[in-house]
Amino acid sequence: MGIADKLDNAVLYIDNLFKGARQRAIAKYGKEAEELIYVKFNKDGGAAAEIIDHYGQLGIDVLKKVNKIDDTAKELVKNKTVYRAVNETTYNFHKLKAQGIIDASPEQYPTYVSLDKYNNADIIKSKLQLPKKPTWVAEFDGNQILSDVRLPNGKYLTAEYKEVLCKSYPDLGDGGGSQFITNSPIKIKRLINLETGEVINFK
């Protein structure tokens, strides 16, 4: 297979990943969505379609407001509660549990977070296509990460496409949960145990 064929296959693969979101977004929001997907955000049209599909009118408003697809992350997270699923073996979990703090991270190893709230560990694992089942969910104010929150590229940052909603690893779950990355330090408001319901509040 030649390089051109491989490129064609890659484009087709990425196109198919976003096909359903494009169809649903345009079916629901018509020409407005079509212009955002195919004209304004052409190269990132798949990501734009997922933003409309997942966030509805808010997604449309955000896409109209910004000029770069990554800038949508800031607008979507602003003034929202953000969630991070972890388990006891996640790096620095004990600091998170004791002090309610997630340390800043180097740029190439960001912290993954979501705007979607799920209360069940199996659903979280499936929606976010996590390789391990979470046991706790941390909640925090999204305004803390506005300076650097962004949309991750798929396949743990190695793919060419922006992955607004988890979908790269269907063998790990249904996907469809929202995801963002940040390197900012985070102060947690609440830590909730998904098995026992225990809640740890932080000031």
Binding site: T89, T90, Y91, Q108, P131, K132
Partner: protein
């Protein structure tokens, strides 16, 4: 893909996974390819000597320190 690139990607993934998903893994979580699994196992032996991971059995291992804390790997 050459060996250095495979091992570099693996090291990066170890840190990303530890920071986001947890410490305990199996070699097959990182590749389904038998030849690459052998390569990763050899590399993990080096990482164990450096104190980055410890083997739990032939295939399972625990990350015990961030790879980025070790500039010599």
């Amino acid at each position: 893909m050459n060996k250095n690139k495979i091992l570099s990607d693996f090291k990066n993934k170890l840190e990303l996974f530890y920071r986001n998903f947890g410490s305990d893994w199996e070699i097959k979580d990182f590749s389904k390819n038998d030849n690459i699994q052998i390569m990763l196992r050899d590399y993990l032996i080096i990482l164990e000597k450096k104190g980055v991971i410890k083997f739990l059995d032939d295939n399972k291992f625990r990350i015990i320190d961030l790879p980025s804390n070790h500039l010599d790997i």
